[in-house]
Assembly symmetry: C2
Homo-oligomer: 527 residues x 2
């Protein structure tokens, strides 16, 4: 039985909080000590990835204390409770089952006679069958032509995760001859978003997936109507071009508006839904069902590691706890995610939602305000691009921003050139190695403008190549990291009440039911 | 004559610093007070834009104190000194002349007999002439076919600004029949970046612009070689497909490797170079020279406003000083930039560089450490997308993040649908109006999980439509804002020594001249 307590009531945290500024990263990462830490402070992840935290502000003593915190906060027990179906999403009284969508770690979860594992597996199988028929030309447009493009219409979790995963594998799929259909995404209610996507494709050869769990998301329904309008104007029957991914009870699940519908339930939140039909339909259509299955398999392998009670063998929990130390003891607000992989250029945007929507909370799971900082602000761009941009502040600014690098030994496409004796891929990897040490150790200089204080902590996830399986492991790593942090902070990482007020006020603006400042801004914007 | 003093030595700042938490935004923005502030706290910008700061944590008293700070810090005088050619980039002993590239505000700037205004105008004219010849089919590939695609090869300032501007106007140009050539961008040394771009175009119909002021940027030279290799393999002569944008003394300016070369000088920094040949060549080719000229004209109009010593009539300086109050008195680290315009989806990435690379400094312009925080961390994504993502933390997280909204009354493409009585554009605008008030005023609730504390300050720039001219004004607004903040903080916003150490260490890695942690990470990454 797990108990839910605020972090600051835990003895292990109280002791941890006395360990501020214990590690001087400049000293720790210099010379033999640096080589030792870089070698020793690493934990294997799934699919050949490794989490290396040599350049973080921890030492064996802090790690022991983090292990004590993990134990006292019952982090693995809570994870077990979660995947075995305990309603840890207390605010909405819901289970949290995104792990089950990739593979069951524990017991069966049955509700109203439905085995949820079978439910998720069934939807995945249905998506696979549908995708195979489209690829085989058994499902075509009215003219009997194959569909060549798939367009996801969704926002937030129905957009950022699937989009990041698609972009991460698009070039890999081309090289491996498994890019079955090009995928596009429409999310913003800005009409220029939908118009631009529609202008860039042959709508007569396109399938559109409308993704909304509730079937009531304003942006998504508006964009659905936008697309239907365009299809009708092109002389096409929208119902022959559109699919729905929604809950069984949603308005979208009714009627004959869709070629087919794929169901989701209330137990997988939007930002965790890449593993459900939200990611499954579009990615199975784009890459084939086997590729999507591999993403899930990679994620499932990482999930298994997250059940390990030995902190140093649990990369997701370890990353989480180092983050808690940085946030609450060291007092850092931000974390930058810096993948040295152009294919991951939208992955930071997904992590930004995953983390900030999950843990950007000021009350605990019982609705009581907490007395400590919770989720960090997440931002990032791919390296080496960022090196020529915002890294200036990271190196020489007045505030310290912890860093999370990601790097792969091999490129996806494999085309490369040798310039001055090295390939582009070697230059890419050389740069991330160099940055870790530059941030950690800095450099003295008589000219203080050229001096680097160092002491900027970073970790790196190193992999062989970005593939469906390693991408799945990477995704699960961050999902689990964020989950563990939510457990430590004793908050509910699975609701998002903070998005509601804006919706309510926007409706009032559109109904011209405004006064005060809201009326002034409505007028200024000509609404 | 201007004098350069640290901010904390200024009497006006010392007084300002006593004004922490003076304004309760929840109260201020409620009821009649809110309507009054939303109406009154607005300053016209160029090209029909307006800067509205009703929801910021300021009142008339703070604004008076900010005006006193602007005067004591001689902000407008320093701007005048800058555009009249004073070497305000002290670290590199350089002038700062990006304003001159759009229009001279003051005196002629002459160096070694060269009138710099004429120099910049000459380069712009040369780019215009070249672009016109390409569009007219007078400059073609070896087979006599027109060029249809232009690819910019550059990184950092040679990439982010031009890319953001291109994407901001791509759909506008299509609608207005002035999209002359599609533009693509290669920046990352990750070989998958160049390979993916080359796979997506017909290289035989493409012009490539190599952009590097020094002619020594590792990523850019590598990607140039990558492209040349691909052209050669396709049986094409690279010198007939490549242009250079570089300084007159750079290696790229020599020899017969390029169809033509367009020069830049040392007085426009990379992140401010969109107004120079760095932006001018690619944007003139993509949209025609008149569109690029309109961007510069819009920027020049905004620059004029920045010369106004009346703080309340100088939107760039006002935005800057409110930011200083937030950063140094209120103690906020981050600022989120949130354009309600899909066309601006990469504009935050450009601002991230512009701001963080300019003002992420810990020593003043004389090389002495400062005792206050300098530049903020900048991040952002377009609304309404962000509302379904990281806004949760912004609304209900434990930390306050100041917000900068941007919104336009009209869309660019003009295609729209009416759903439930309103257009998508109206829904977009309703959402940004709603968010300002939601962030400011919050909402009480018995269920603390559904409670919004409010008190989250924001400003908004409102425009009629995103066009070349209003985009230019928007660009100049942020450039000038950041410049004024650098003046207040007494730092040099125009160098970037923080990017150097990583370059040096990366070279050592590639030369296998490593030890300690650097060697371990090099080995882990198989270099």
């Amino acid at each position: 039985m797990v108990t839910w307590n605020n972090m600051d009531t835990l003895v292990s945290y109280q002791k941890l909080s006395t360990m501020k500024n214990r590690v001087n990263v400049v000293e720790a990462m210099s010379g033999e000590s640096g080589a030792d830490r870089a070698t020793r402070y690493t934990t294997p992840m799934a699919e050949g990835l490794a989490f290396n935290y040599g350049a973080k502000e921890v030492d064996d003593t802090i790690l022991e204390q983090l292990a004590a915190l993990a134990e006292e906060a019952q982090l693995v027990d809570k994870f077990e409770a979660l995947y075995n179906g305990e309603r840890v999403n207390t605010g909405e009284n819901r289970m949290v089952l995104h792990h089950l969508a990739r593979r069951q770690l524990g017991n069966d979860v049955v509700e109203n006679g439905v085995n949820k594992r079978d439910f998720y597996a069934g939807v995945q199988a249905k998506a696979a069958e549908f995708a195979n028929k489209v690829h085989a030309g058994e499902i075509t447009n009215a003219a009997g032509e194959t569909f060549t493009t798939v367009v996801q219409i969704g926002i937030g979790g129905s957009d950022l995760g699937p989009r990041a995963l698609y972009l991460a594998l698009e070039n890999w799929a081309k090289v491996n001859n498994t890019l079955k259909m090009e995928a596009k995404f429409i999310s913003n209610v800005d009409p220029d978003d939908a118009a631009a996507v529609l202008n860039s494709i042959d709508v007569s050869r396109a399938l559109f997936i409308v993704v909304s769990k509730s079937g009531t998301t304003l942006e998504t329904l508006t964009n659905e109507a936008f697309v239907k309008d365009a299809l009708t104007k092109a002389g096409l029957d929208p119902s022959k071009h559109m699919l729905a991914v929604t809950s069984e009870t949603s308005p979208l699940a009714q009627g004959d508006d869709y070629l087919d519908a794929f169901f989701m339930d209330d137990y997988i939140g939007g930002r965790f839904s890449s593993s459900s039909a939200v990611g499954g339909v579009v990615l199975s259509l784009a890459f084939g069902p086997e590729v999507f299955a591999d993403i899930l398999n990679g994620a499932a392998e990482e999930d298994k590691l997250a059940t390990n009670k030995d902190l140093l063998q649990n990369p997701d929990m370890l990353d989480a706890l180092i983050g808690v130390y940085e946030r609450n003891v060291q007092g850092y607000l931000d974390t930058a995610v810096l993948p040295y992989s152009q294919a991951l250029h939208r992955f930071p945007a997904h992590l930004q939602q995953l983390d900030m929507e999950s843990n950007g909370k000021r009350v605990n799971r019982f609705g009581e305000p907490v007395n400590y900082q919770t989720g960090p602000v997440i931002f990032g761009e791919p390296g080496t691009n960022g090196q020529h941009s915002f890294y200036q502040l990271l190196h020489q600014g007045t505030d310290i921003v912890p860093l999370q690098f990601v790097g792969f030994k091999n490129s996806q496409i494999g085309t490369d050139v040798v310039i001055e004796g090295t390939t582009s891929q070697q230059k890419l990897c050389a740069n991330v190695a160099a940055q870790i040490v530059a941030f950690a150790c800095g450099k003295e200089d008589e000219n203080s403008n050229k001096e680097f204080k160092g002491g900027r902590p970073s970790s790196i996830i190193i992999g062989d190549k970005l593939t469906p399986r390693s991408l799945g492991a990477l995704l699960a790593h961050f999902e689990n990291k964020i989950m563990f942090q939510g457990f430590v902070w004793n908050i509910n990482s699975f609701d998002q009440e903070g998005v509601q007020l804006g919706k309510v006020l926007a409706k009032r603006v559109l109904a011209h039911d405004t006064d005060g400042a809201l009326k002034v801004y409505s007028d200024l914007l000509d609404i």
